[in-house]
């Protein structure tokens, strides 16, 4: 009996150890969320209705990117670029806004040079645009070589934000699939990015936005991942263009006007050969149109939740053109 009790105690301890970290309830209220990734914050009627219909209270808004300074001024090693502008008519009453800052891997190694600037800039943007925030999210494709810098940055920026906002500001971080294999960053929670899973420059890639085959190898890490997670799912499409030698030409985020059957020969699997003459760029011979079906999104959602458990969902991103490709039931299923 004693052995049995001891075994039970050990089992409980082990199970407790395997539990994911308890999330902060205020951050994890289970509400539906979207990313907003444009440079001009303006919402059209469709998007407004979408937010309302799906009870979306949290908007992760990309504020700006940080990258190495390639300009002629050498005052700063890294600079903010593509800063969002806000439509003054837009009200953020009763909206939970989370500023998101994307930092390139090249910039993060120089984090000491900009951490304080960055915190002040987020503060200034919030003040000027009358945004009440309690949290900031950082997006960085860190790897083993840049991990230490990114993790230290997260610690430092939390302190800097507290100084400017004069209160504790929660910190979250995006988590890419390959980052699951590593120690999680010291943040309040992560958002698992289930998109951009493939190499879009490769002609043989089937779907670089999301392919369940690319997700499966990482599912095992989720079982023991020691960080509360939300799940970000893709609702976007793009065209990947290749030349006659199947070499990558460009990524086109909006479908071409000439994207019709008279100009293209369907080779199957979203791949088209350009046969017509009336095309904007003669260098392009093949186009791979990529979008993700609701079925695939739900399969991936099921796969990762099977390993990790239920996760609040964040859709990437709020764009009427892209979101209108999914019916309301499908959207509802993404969030459920």
């Amino acid at each position: 009996m004693k052995k049995c009790i001891a075994f039970c105690i050990v089992l409980l301890v082990v199970l407790a150890g395997c539990q994911h970290k308890n999330p902060n309830n205020t951050l994890f209220s289970g509400e539906n969320s979207v990313y907003f990734w444009r440079t001009w914050y303006s919402i059209n009627d469709y998007e407004r209705q979408f937010l309302s219909d799906n009870h979306i209270q949290t908007r992760y808004i990309r504020f700006f990117d940080v990258e190495p300074n390639h300009g002629w001024r050498d005052d700063d090693k890294c600079v903010p670029v593509a800063t969002i502008s806000f439509d003054n008519e837009e009200s953020f009453d009763n909206v939970h806004v989370v500023p998101v800052v994307f930092i390139t891997p090249e910039a993060i190694v120089e984090y000491e040079s900009f951490t304080d600037h960055l915190a002040h800039r987020i503060y200034a943007m919030c003040v000027k645009n009358k945004l009440e925030i309690n949290e900031v999210q950082f997006d960085c494709d860190w790897t083993k070589s840049t991990r230490d810098a990114y993790f230290q940055f997260l610690i430092d920026v939390r302190k800097a934000l507290k100084t400017y906002f004069e209160k504790d500001i929660a910190i979250s971080s995006t988590i890419r699939l390959h980052q699951l294999a590593q120690t999680p960053p010291e943040v309040d929670y992560g958002v698992l990015m289930c998109y951009n899973t493939g190499d879009f420059k490769n002609f043989n890639t089937k779907n670089a936005i999301l392919d369940i085959k690319d997700v499966k190898p990482y599912a095992k890490y989720l079982k023991k991942y020691q960080l509360p997670l939300k799940l970000a799912l893709p609702c976007y499409s793009w065209d990947v263009e290749f030349d006659a030698t199947k070499k990558f030409v460009r990524l086109n985020r909006s479908p071409h006007e000439w994207y019709d059957t008279t100009q293209l020969k369907n080779l199957g699997g979203g791949l088209y050969e350009i046969t017509g003459d009336d095309i904007p760029d003669k260098a392009v011979k093949y186009v791979r149109h990529e979008e993700v079906s609701a079925e695939t999104i739900l399969q991936v959602k099921s796969l990762v939740e099977k390993s990790y458990g239920k996760m609040p969902v964040v859709l990437y991103h709020l764009d009427s053109v892209q979101l209108s490709k999914y019916n309301p039931d499908e959207i509802k299923a993404f969030f459920d």
Binding site: N69, G71, N88, H120, P280
Partner: protein, 565 residues
Amino acid sequence: MKSRLSLISGILLLSCMTAFPCGYPDPIEPQWHWFFYTGHNCSYNEWQGKLNEAFREENITFWHNRVQGKVSREAVEAALYDLYILNDQTDNKFFRYLYDHKDKEALGYWTLLKTTDSDYIHQAVWERSEWYYSEKTGERYWYDEDELPRYDLSISQVETLDEGAILSCKDKEIRNRFLLQVMRKCFYAHDYQGCIVLWERYGKEVPKSVLRKQCLNYYAGALRRIDRDTEAAIVYAGIGFYDPRLHYDVEVLRKIYEKEPDSKAFEFMVQEFVNTYFDKNSHVSYEPPYSYMHPHYYYTRDVSKSNAFNALADEIVRDGKNLNPALWVSAKAALAYINGDNAAAIRLISEADKLRGTPAVKDNIRMMRLVFNSTRNDIDANYETVLLPDLQWLVRKIEKEGVPCWWEYDIGGAIPEDTSFTALHHIKILRRTILLGVIPHFEQRGMAFKSMAYLNFYEEFMTDDNMKKVRNYARKGMLREGVGLFGSTVYFHPPIYREEYLSEYDYDYSNTTNGKLVLVADSIAWQKNFDYNTQFFNYMDAVGRPDGGGKVRPPKQLPRPQFLQ
């Protein structure tokens, strides 16, 4: 001595044979564009700068006229460009005039502009870090993105600078100025679609002017930003701008021609087309029997592309709507030459010379003719007679222009960014003609003296101080890089130097220094009257090489060459 001379001649010939193995190679600068008659002085920033400058003048004149010339031009300029804040307390004479004369439309325009103008924003935050973001509503910040200055205009005032401002303005002239400003705002706010719509809605009312050009510049820029490249190219062509960031293939040229048949920008576009064709079809091989010191340069041809261009050129010349037909035919000649059809190239360049063309195109025709003729094999008897008029013209042109000081920017065969480079281009044409045309021509016919004479002339001509700098740099560059792209005289030809000055026309081929053949000639004559010396070497070649060394004494007085008379 005879055997030594034969050996040297043999080396000379072998060297040339090795360097020019396939008819029309370019062992000097494989990426150097010889179809180039004017510098790419239209890089976007430079062109934009000129347009802005022109607009500034036009703008000052417009507002100066608006106040009936009652305020000095300087005061108008100061009001427009130095005064950042406008209010009714201003003591600026220009604005005071507008207040006093109740010019409400003008005041409305300036009140709005002075609170939104990006120059003001720029000036106001110039010293600030790019991390700066004002916490105050109403202030703006500036930052760089994509190497273009962009101004964040997300403030309440700017919102009023919209289509409503255009519609509410009754004064047509100011209304057009509002159009420019609103388009500008849309462009910098990344609202490219908005910028396009505005022009398509109101642009027809804007008369031909610098203002119209400015509007079209934003319109084309917006089209380019949303990947409507062909349309952007057409609009740019209409205002005489060639955008090197766009791709100008035959189809694009045709579409541009349909809309803008006499665009000034065709010179740049055609130049770009030919040079791109050259780039894509010129190759280099270092595989044995070639090497890095003696590479194999050769061309391939893309007949479908050149045929398509030729068909378009024929159509354009036939139509008569383009007032620069010589450009199109000379481009056809260039393509024929690259394709290896020298006879067609010669015929076409002659045709082009008879057609109407801009001075730059006419100059280019002359230089191309020189290049083509220098490699001809069918004019042995009067080779120099054919060549020399153009060669002399080119030499005098170079002497007149002097040697450009900007040569360092051109190392590596990059396309010059400044018209000043045309001077350097002329030197390159000379080098190409002498080293790839004339010298091999005489070498292949066993006329070593004539060959050396031209080489000596070339070396002599390059003794100018600046020329020396260019040449020395080139040599250092070659030593560093292993393979020279520039000034490869020394490496592709045996080192032949004139090292002594002797009066008359004595020369002593028995005198060698450090293994180099020393060819002595009258340096003054070489520089100032090289055709006379050419005559001398004609004579030398005619009498043949002397046996057994010793001195050859040609007649003291040589007949004056006939082609100079």
